[in-house]
C-alpha cells in the first residue's frame, strides 16, 4: 500500500489534514506518516497539538538534517541585508530565517531519502517549511498534494500572485469546486473534490438527533437557552474588519435585548484575546463569547451566521446555514458574497430580524451553491483519497 507523508506545521494544518489521513487509513486506501519541523522559535510547536489528535508517532526534520555550512548562510545574508528589507524587518528574523531554511532543506531531503514516502501531502505550499518539503519531493518525482484551504481572495492574487505560485512544485491541488480552478497558476493540476474538512459537519447536520444534542450541549455551556433562535457573530481578523467591530457588537447586542434572540460571538482563530470585545459581550445577557477550537461546531448549531469576508461565510453556506454579511458602516467590502447571491447584506437591525427569521433569497443562495459549492454532499474525503490511492 502506498505511504503518503503528511506535513503538519500548525494546529490548523492538522485540523484540515488529519481527517484525510484518518479516512485513508480507515478505508485502507493508503498508509499515512506524519512529519513535522520545529516552528521557528517554537512558540507553538507541533508536538503541542499532535496529542490532541491522538498522534504519537511522527518524524521530525531535525533528525535528518546535516550541519549547515557557515559559507552558505553568509552568502544569503549578504544578499538579503543588501536589500531594503533591512529597513522594515527586524534583523533577527532576517538572519534566523536563513539558517533555519538551510537546516530544513537538508532535514526534509534527509527525511525523504530515509523514509521513502510515495507522496507528500501539505495543507498548502505558501508556507516557509512546506515550500521546502514540496520542492525536495517534487524535484525527485514524488507527487505532492495540497488542498484549497479556504476562500480564494482575488485581491491576494492581484496583490501578491498568491495563487499563481501556489502551484509551484505541486502535482495536484484539491479544490472546493470547478469554479475555483480558474484562480490557480496551473489549472490543469486542480482536481475539484469539495471541502474535505466539512464532510463531518455535513453529516452531522443531516443527523437531526445528534445536531439537537450538540446544540443543547453547546448553547447550555455558553449559558444560552438552546431552543431560542441564535445567530453567531463570527468576526474575521479584526484588522480586516470593515467598520468598527466594537460598535458593530454593541448594535447586535442591543438588538438581542430588543428581539429576545441570542448571539454567540466568535473571533478568528489567529486573533487571540481581545479585552474590548470581552467587555462589550459581558453587557448583554443574551450574547456570549464562544471560544472553541473549531468554528464549524458553532456554525453547525446556529440558525444563521453574521460574518464579513473570509472563509467562514462560505463554509456556513456549504453547511446550509444562512449568512448575513455585516456592513453597518456601509463600506465597500472585499468580494462581497451578498453581491454574488450567497448571503444577504446586513446594514441595520431590520436586516438582522429578516436574517434570523429566514427571510432570505433562497433561489439566489441555491444558485450560488450550485456554482461555487456543488460538491458539498459529504463525499469529498472519499473523492480525494481515492484519487490519491489510484494516482
Amino acid at each position: 500500500m502506498k505511504k503518503i507523508s503528511f506535513f503538519l506545521g500548525r494546529f490548523h494544518h492538522a485540523q484540515k489534514l488529519v481527517p484525510i489521513g484518518r479516512y485513508a487509513k480507515e478505508h485502507e486506501l493508503f498508509d499515512v506518516e506524519i512529519v513535522i519541523a520545529d516552528n521557528a522559535i517554537n512558540i507553538d510547536p507541533p508536538t503541542e497539538f499532535l496529542s490532541d489528535f491522538g498522534i504519537k508517532s511522527f518524524h521530525h526534520s531535525k533528525l535528518y538534517q546535516k550541519a549547515v555550512p557557515d559559507e552558505d548562510v553568509m552568502e544569503i545574508i549578504e544578499r538579503v541585508f543588501s536589500t531594503s528589507l533591512v529597513r522594515s524587518i527586524p534583523p533577527f528574523w532576517l538572519a534566523y530565517s536563513i539558517r533555519e531554511a538551510l537546516e530544513n532543506i537538508s532535514g526534509f531531503k534527509g527525511y525523504i531519502e530515509e523514509s521513502k514516502p510515495d507522496g507528500i501531502f501539505l495543507l498548502h505550499a505558501q508556507n516557509f517549511w512546506a515550500k521546502i518539503l514540496a520542492y525536495q519531493a517534487f524535484t525527485i518525482g514524488l507527487p505532492v498534494y495540497t488542498i484549497q484551504e479556504g476562500i480564494i481572495l482575488e485581491r491576494e492574487e492581484q496583490d501578491m500572485g498568491k495563487y499563481t505560485w501556489a502551484s509551484d512544485y505541486i502535482t495536484n491541488i484539491f479544490s472546493w469546486s470547478e469554479y475555483d480552478r480558474q484562480f490557480y497558476g496551473d489549472p490543469d493540476i486542480v482536481v475539484p473534490v469539495g471541502p474535505t474538512h466539512l464532510d463531518k459537519w455535513i453529516a452531522l447536520r443531516k443527523d437531526k438527533r445528534k445536531l439537537v444534542l450538540l446544540k443543547h450541549k453547546l448553547f447550555s455551556s455558553l449559558g444560552l437557552a438552546p431552543m431560542v433562535p441564535t445567530l453567531s457573530f463570527s468576526f474575521p481578523r479584526l484588522d480586516l474588519y470593515k467598520g468598527n467591530p466594537v460598535e458593530s457588537l454593541r448594535r447586535v447586542g442591543a438588538w438581542t435585548v430588543r428581539s429576545g434572540y441570542n448571539v454567540a460571538v466568535s473571533l478568528h482563530p489567529f486573533q487571540g484575546d481581545v479585552p474590548e470585545i470581552n467587555q462589550i459581550v459581558r453587557i448583554y445577557p443574551n450574547m456570549k463569547l464562544w471560544a472553541g477550537d473549531n468554528a464549524m461546531e458553532l456554525v453547525s448549531c446556529v440558525d444563521a451566521v453574521l460574518a464579513q469576508t473570509g472563509t467562514l461565510p462560505l463554509e456556513a453556506i456549504a453547511l446550509g446555514v444562512h449568512v448575513g454579511e455585516v456592513n453597518f458602516a456601509k463600506m465597500p467590502l472585499d468580494q462581497p458574497l451578498y453581491k454574488q447571491g450567497g448571503a444577504m447584506i446586513i446594514e441595520d437591525e431590520d436586516d438582522l430580524d429578516k436574517l434570523i427569521r429566514g427571510k432570505v433569497d433562497n433561489d439566489a443562495i441555491q444558485k450560488f451553491k450550485e456554482e461555487r459549492l456543488p460538491l458539498t454532499d459529504g463525499q469529498s474525503l472519499q473523492r480525494l483519497t481515492e484519487f490519491v490511492a489510484n494516482a
Binding site: 553568509m74 544578499r79 534583523p91 505560485w165
Partner: protein, 311 residues
C-alpha cells in the same frame, strides 16, 4: 545603557529615540529629549508593497546553494511578510534627519531601529556604538557579522566573553568595557547535599534546562538512556512559562521530572542545556554546566563562556 546615556548628557546634548512604549513612559520624565516612534496603522497597500520588495523584488532569482529553489519563495511569504513592518521605514528618515554626532544603539536585533542607526551612521560618516542591553553572543549576530553586514565597529560590553566573541569576527573592533558588577554565587556542595537530603535524594543529580526552542533535542536526550548513565536523578527545569506549558504535552511523565521552585537547579551537580543563552544565568551558572549542541546547530562553542563544556 541608561547610565551611559546619563554620563554622556553631562558632556553634551542627548536625544533618545525609542520604539518601545514602556521605555518611553518610564524615562520621559528623566530625559528632556526623548522621542517615541509609534507604529502607524497598517495600510492595505502593505501586501502590494511587500510583493514589490520581496516577491521576488530585490531578492531576485537567487537560489539556495545546490538547489534551484529561489530564496524568496521560502523566505518571503509567511516568514518575512509576517515580520514586515513598513511603518518603521521612516525610522531611517527620522534618524538621518536629526542632528547628532554619536549614536548609542541598543543591542536589540528584534527591532529595525538599532541596526538602521548603524547603517545611517556609516553613510553619514558618524560615530555609532553598539551597547549591550540584550545578549551579544547570539547565533544571529554572529551570522550577520561573519557576512560583513554588521554596520557597527565600536561596542560597549561588560564581559571578556563578549569581547572575545566580537573580536573573533570583527578583529578591528573597538571594545569599551563596562565594569562587570554581577555577583557570582555558585551553590556550595554542602548546601546542595543538605537540600538533597531534605528532598530525600542522594547521589549525582542532572538538571536539564528545558527550553522550548530545543524541545526536539531534549526529547531525544531523554529517550536515550545511555546518555543519562552516571546520574542517579534527572530533573527538568523549564526556563520560562511557555516552556513549562509545552513540557507537559511534549514529554510524557514530565511531572515526575519536575521539582518545585528552582530546587532542580539548586541541587544539580551538572546543569545540561542544548544551547548557550546569556539570559539563562545572568549571574553565571550556579554549578558545572554542560551543553550538548546537536550538529553544532546552536553554535554553542562560539557563544558559550570558555569554562562551559560543549559536546
Amino acid at each position: 545603557m541608561i547610565d551611559t546615556l546619563i554620563n554622556e548628557s553631562l558632556d553634551g546634548g542627548v536625544h533618545i529615540v525609542t520604539t518601545n512604549s514602556a521605555f518611553f513612559r518610564g524615562y520621559s520624565g528623566r530625559f528632556e529629549d526623548i522621542y517615541f516612534i509609534k507604529a502607524l496603522p497598517v495600510s492595505k497597500a502593505k501586501d502590494v508593497d511587500f510583493a514589490k520588495l520581496a516577491m521576488p523584488g530585490e531578492l531576485g532569482a537567487a537560489t539556495f546553494p545546490d538547489t534551484d529553489l529561489e530564496i524568496w519563495k521560502v523566505l518571503s511569504l509567511d516568514r518575512y511578510k509576517f515580520w514586515y513592518m513598513p511603518e518603521f521605514e521612516f525610522v531611517t528618515e527620522f534618524v538621518s534627519g536629526t542632528d547628532w554626532d554619536v549614536v548609542y544603539a541598543s543591542s536589540d536585533l528584534g527591532s529595525t531601529l538599532p541596526i538602521m542607526t548603524g547603517y545611517e551612521a556609516e553613510l553619514l560618516g558618524r560615530k555609532a556604538i553598539w551597547v549591550k542591553t540584550e545578549p551579544i553572543r547570539t547565533r544571529e549576530l554572529r551570522d550577520i557579522m561573519m557576512a560583513g553586514q554588521f554596520p557597527f565597529n565600536e561596542f560597549l560590553v561588560d564581559s571578556e566573553d563578549d569581547k572575545r566573541f566580537i573580536l573573533d569576527y570583527l578583529p578591528d573592533a573597538t571594545i569599551h568595557m563596562e565594569e562587570d558588577t554581577t555577583e557570582r554565587n555558585p551553590i556550595s556542595q554542602e548546601s546542595k547535599e543538605v537540600l538533597k537530603k531534605m528532598l530525600g535524594l542522594s547521589g549525582n543529580v542532572l538538571c536539564i534546562l528545558f527550553d522550548k526552542r530545543d524541545e526536539f533535542q531534549c526529547r531525544e536526550f531523554l529517550n536515550d538512556k545511555s546518555l543519562r548513565s552516571g546520574y542517579n536523578y534527572v530533573f527538568l527545569h523549564p526556563i520560562d512559562l511557555r516552556s513549562r506549558a509545552l513540557l507537559h504535552t511534549s514529554i510524557p511523565d514530565a511531572g515526575s521530572l519536575l521539582l518545585p521552585d528552582d530546587n532542580a537547579l539548586k541541587i544539580a551537580d551538572t546543569i545540561l542545556a542544548f544551547r548557550w543563552d546569556d539570559n539563562y544565568f545572568p549571574d553565571g551558572p550556579p554549578t558545572k554546566m554542560q551543553i550538548i549542541d546537536l550538529r553544532s546547530m546552536n553554535k554553542a562553542k562560539q557563544l558559550a563562556p570558555k569554562d562551559i563544556s560543549i559536546k
